[in-house]
């Protein structure tokens, strides 16, 4: 299975290596660097690279390349999924998955990696088991550790590994028992030039933050579960219950976790909350262009559209932009050629507009294609599909938990072609 792991930063320094079998020289990464150079963008580095003796499977996350070395046949997704879990674990432990965080906590990272794989085969990947084994660093604990010389390694033996609910620790205690659920829906859409929808769908997740004492058994039901077309669950969810009754029944992990993700039935028409009128022209003569974009609210179900941001990847020849925005601010980065217009809230009365000229590199032919617009937005207190949580019941424990549900709609991959 997984033989070794190298963490490489954006600049190409190998700043951590871990071997689960015999040591493999880090020179194997040269093949990776070669592929990286060829690909240009980090997104374009092929996830699987073949070298004469090994295979390199890598992911790119938070500006770090996680490069794993494989020697024999293994499902590539197995490795990719595992590497993402590693990154998530770092995120979970250190609050961020960055080079600095990893370097600061190199011993914990090493201990984590040691526990997560045994001889290259995943051993403990559940966050709660790992946290029993290795306590995450906190400022308080690190202070206490320095003073008392105690360790951040769990003194108790992890029994979680043996339980039938490996995702939950035993003996969780809270003074305030709370369970919060966020229903977050993202609209993926492609609109064409004229504003008609080429493709639109809604993807949603239910994220939970559960801080409950003991072994609660929760049941979450929806008003309209039929909306959900395709679902995937955290392992804690009893699939059979879902199949038969369309309710989510589970013993929750402790803390934050993603309970389910879903896809809304494709037959339902997707309400597009905003419309965009755009006009981008490049002129043959004078090496200039014009840009005029207006954004307005459309089907918003009576809610305010917030955090509207328009991002445009301009063609290479665009040198600078001289624009005026009636609302919000815009920035143009001449290096990355990205124009960002941060609008903020959309109101019915005044439609925000961004207008002005673009100056192009002189002499260069005008770009053939107009850049497409990527829209970002957020609507609070609304699940655009209409999904509603009906109720949350708790069994197995006596206290009354505090329960809360929040709905948010966001733009996912929302693109307007021009």
């Amino acid at each position: 299975m997984i033989h070794s792991l190298f963490l490489i930063n954006y600049a190409g320094d190998i700043f951590l290596e871990k071997h689960w079998k015999s040591v493999i020289s880090r020179s194997v990464c040269d093949y990776f660097f070669e592929a990286q150079e060829k690909a240009g963008e980090p997104d374009n580095v092929p996830p699987v690279i073949r070298t004469p003796h090994h295979y390199l499977i890598n992911i790119f996350r938070e500006k770090i390349f996680f490069v794993s070395v494989i020697q024999t046949e293994v499902p590539p997704l197995f490795v990719i999924e595992f590497l993402h879990r590693v990154a998530e674990m770092f995120q979970d432990y250190f609050g961020e998955c960055s080079e600095a965080a990893i370097k600061d906590n190199v011993v914990i990272v090493y201990e984590l990696l040691e526990e997560m794989l045994d001889n290259g085969f995943p051993l403990a990947t559940e966050s709660n088991i790992l946290k029993e084994l290795i306590k995450p660093p906190t400022i308080l604990r690190s202070m206490v550790n320095t003073i008392t010389g105690s360790s951040n390694l769990g003194e108790t033996l992890p029994t979680g590994q043996l339980s039938s609910v490996p995702w939950r620790r035993v003996g969780v205690k809270y003074t305030n028992n709370e369970a919060y659920f966020d229903v977050v829906e993202e609209i993926d859409a492609i609109l064409d030039k004229s504003g008609t929808t080429v493709f639109a769908e809604i993807q949603g997740v239910v994220d939970a933050c559960v801080k409950l004492t003991g072994m609660p058994d929760l049941t979450l039901s929806f008003m309209n579960p039929r909306l959900l077309d395709d679902v995937s669950f955290h392992p804690c969810v009893r699939f059979k219950r879902w199949e038969s009754e369309k309710v989510l029944s589970f013993i929750p992990p402790d803390g934050n976790f993603r309970l389910m993700s879903y896809h809304v039935n494709a037959q339902n028409l997707v309400a597009i909350p905003v419309y965009v009128k755009q006009n981008i022209n490049f002129f043959d003569s004078g090496s200039s262009g014009r840009l005029d974009i207006t954004v307005g609210p459309k089907q918003t179900m009576g809610k305010t559209v917030e955090n509207v941001i328009v991002t445009i990847h301009m063609p290479k020849v665009v040198l600078s932009a001289n624009l005026t925005a009636t609302q919000g601010t815009y920035t143009y980065d001449p290096v990355t050629k990205i124009l960002v217009w941060d609008i903020g809230k959309l109101t019915q009365q005044k439609l925000p507009n961004l207008k002005g000229s673009l100056s192009l590199q002189s002499g260069a032919p005008k770009p053939e294609e107009n850049p497409s617009l990527n829209i970002d937005l957020k609507i609070q207190q609304l699940a655009i599909s209409g999904l509603k949580v009906n109720r949350l019941d708790m069994y197995g424990e006596k206290y009354k938990p505090f329960k809360g549900v929040k709905y948010v709609t966001k733009a996912g991959k929302f693109q307007v072609r021009t």
Binding site: K18, F78, E111, E114, N119, V198, F199, D230, K240
Partner: protein, 1126 residues
Amino acid sequence: MSTGSAFNDEKGGSSSTGEPEYGHDPASGGIFSSDYKRHDDLKEMLDSNKDSLKLEAMKRIVAMIARGKNASDLFPAVVKNVACKNIEVKKLVYVYLVRYAEEQQDLALLSISTFQRGLKDPNQLIRASALRVLSSIRVTIIVPIMMLAIKEAASDMSPYVRKTAAHAIPKLYSLDPEQKDQLIEVIEKLLADKTTLVAGSVVMAFEEVCPERIDLIHKNYRKLCNLLIDVEEWGQVVIINMLTRYARTQFLNPNINESLLEEGGEKAFYGSDDDDEDDEEKKAEAAALAKRKPYVMDPDHRLLLRNTKPLLQSRNAAVVMAVAQLYFHLAPKAEVGVIAKALVRLMRSHSEVQYVVLQNVATMTIKRRGMFEPYLKSFYIRSTDPTQIKILKLEVLTNLANETNISTILREFQTYIKSMDKDFVAATIQAIGRCATNIGEVRDTCLNGLVQLLSNRDELVVAESVVVIKKLLQMQPEQHSDIIKHMAKLTDNIQVPMARASILWLIGEYCEHVPKIAPDVLRKMAKTFTNEEDIVKLQIINLAAKLYLTNSKQTKLLTQYVLNLAKYDQNYDIRDRARFIRQLIVPTDKSGALSKYAKKLFLALKPAPVLESPFKDRDHFQLGSLSHLLNTKAGGYQELPDWPESAPDPSVRNVEVPEWTKCTSRKERKEKKVEKPFYSDSEGESGPTESADSESDSGSGSESGSEESGSASESEESEEESESEEEEEDEEEERTKKKKKIDKIKPKKPESAESEQSSGEEQKRSRKGGKERRSGSESESEEESESESSESESESEEESESDADTKKKKKTSASKPPPKQTKKESKRETKEMSLLDLDDFEPTPSPQVTPINNFLSNSLVTDLEGLSLTDTVLAPTTIAPSSSVRMHELLHRITGEGLGVEYCFSRQPFSPDPHMVAVQIQFTNNTSSETKSLHIEEPKLQSGMRIKEFPEIEVLPAGESVNVVMGIDFCDSTQAANFQLCTHTRKFFVSIQPPVGELMMPAFLTENEFKKEQETLLNGQLMGMNEITEKLTLGEKCQSDHAIIERVTATANLSRVPCGSDKEYSPPPPPSSPVSRFAGKTVSSGSLVLVTVVRKEGGGAQLTVNCEKMVIGTMLVKDILQALTQ
């Protein structure tokens, strides 16, 4: 790593500073000698007495290792601390040891004894960790020690240690492949393990050590299928991939009929999609074929498909992919569609996941286009996608194109062509070309579109278009001379060699269509010949030769000129070509025989190229594998075998009786056959059922079966088949339904045979257990009165039997109803309980259970003995006037259109299968006409759950009622068993949900045994997990021991443990802490359930429940609490 390189690393490391813990260290990155100095201070710290110093040193050393620096010279100093008390120091020492032991073999040996000691530790986690480190030390000399440790750990009582043993197997194998045979033995042993914890790891070991020993899987196949859903996700991936291979060797191709069709239609490109799209037609065809050659899916094959399907909902992309490939390779065509949705879902994931999934989708779309067609739009490309994703999506879109959707796809392609990403544009043009070749209707449209692209300003676009147009024109050149002319003009502008070469080739090939232009092009090319690229030069020579042959008048001189130029070219290929062509076409005195045929050679009709997907035929690699992704065999890849011509013997998967069962050989043989449809654990229990003294007696009924074992086993098999078929019914096509109806007639025979057998047993039981039966319930008397007329307690309806056959059946059903043990049903609502249920049926075969199983074995006789024992033990209880067993409604007579059905849990062992809970069902016909053929259909069960149906009731006359008994294996969960109750006219969906107390049966322990078990449960493993203690205030009516016992036994099917002091015989019980103990074990997995109630003064009490099954435990506590506080 040599010291030299370490030195370099050291330097490299220091130059890229930023490691805070080294910032203060002046020695880091210093000269070589100071390197030693620094290590000296680390050594000092390691030698100190303070744990904190040691820890600090170890942390710094591990940080060095993490950055790839050499710390091997610290080995002696570090290894001394292997027995350090501080757990963190120890852990870090292990990390160091595993990293450097290979380089310092001799010193590493010093640590071995510590681990050997650890292997004997009473704590399972310490044992496991010792084994883990020991097996990670790659030192050949300790191979025998490792082997021994693995063997020992493989039979450890803790499943966690066994899991670690499974992990250690591949480690040892890679260290010393010679141990293979011994390791296979261990694998074989661990494969038989029944815990989910071990399953994934041992299959992984199997895959690494002996993937070719597919025969080891047979016996464990069904178990693996059933455990699969509860195995941890990584294990699931490995198991599913292995089972895919297994299934390919053991079952028949479910698409055998379709594939014949496919082969016929494959040549015409559309033929194959037609039957993809046109479902009805396909079905009809398939049905027609099926009639000719019926295919019946092996029930084990179905089992695999059914049990993997829910995993498509996993959050783990690798699991989803594994299931998807399993369905792609194994499922009947009609069922493969389910995976599409899940795969499309993965496309929202990280780009690496998308990349791999798209590769696989691309391969799938070639074989099964129809399945992804509904998701066409999900493959639309966004400008922000990385190029490699764009190109893969394009591939999928192209594969999905057909007559109906091509216009949408082409419109989409048009947007793509304008993209700024030129590689992507080139790929789009190729895709258009492929669509044009594949779909005749749009060829002209595509061609026109591509021609328009020829005026694009981007040269790459033009070049790519030329290449594609060339290929398209080759298909029908006659109609397109103007396009050729247009392209001829392009030679002035296009510089991309491939495009120029293509144009020249086209003009040469079709020079007859452009007789005027062609010589002119040659003239121009001759001018620039020396500056052209090699491939263009070759095409110029080609063009010259062709023109010379067709139009020698105009081009003779030009050709000579070109050939002369080529003669002195730098490239020998070109020189050779020129020489060869000159000889061939220019007539000379000694020109060879070939020149006569020159025209034929050059102007032969060339077949049009087939533009095909690079993913074609990739599916001979197992999808989702590394080899598939790379399209070459990766090391260690196991070929996916082709379907066998004829199915190997399916009986190899039947599980034998475990060796420890003391059966007579004859018995054993019989067991094997009869138990066929059930799984290993059930046999483990049922083995002793037949042992000992019951043998001769039961012989009257069941032994006759074994005498004619041949026929018995045969019919049994057919039953098994039909049973599973029923389950798959909804998925099967209609044709199989038809067939099944015929099949259904068959199973009746064995079933009735079985009922005979059980009735024989029952009779015997009634003889033996007469005493207990005297406590007599109505159902008993019903049996005595046989079939004349009977009164059922609740309904009291007259019933007259006429049919002799029904009589017999009735006897069976009537004999089973339980002697009511004066135990009350729990009054709680069952609904609430199911919420607490976990799909957990992990049997824990820890040693302490086995002996209990032995002496608790629910063999008929022991049971009876046990029951009589309970009678005495429960003496006080029986005195109490208690209500009868509570009936639950299964079907109200109004919804049932006059058919009322009630059920109760009879608390009788279910003799055909001891793992099942017996459910007594009472049918009452309230209508005025008779109801016919009452039976069960289509059970929809949780995984692992099983139903033993009652024999069909052929006639239920108006106003009559009848009792039958069925068995349900709830797998120790309170999930409802859903099934259909069918009459000759109607079907009713019903479900039976057991209260937790009914999932267990009494176990008979003495007080000492009880205490011992409680202790092992507490200490052995799981610690607090399996003990739940609650304080309560006893309800007014249950202040006495007597009442407590009554309530507890009413709530749960437990037996009272007699107290050593015989307290229960000395009423009134002493007021000082009266303790009541109850024991039982779960019906399905035989896990112990121990309940203790300690009564305190002032009406208080403490309830303790010990059970390995946490869920059962918690639910039981709730139930008992409620019963006691009321």
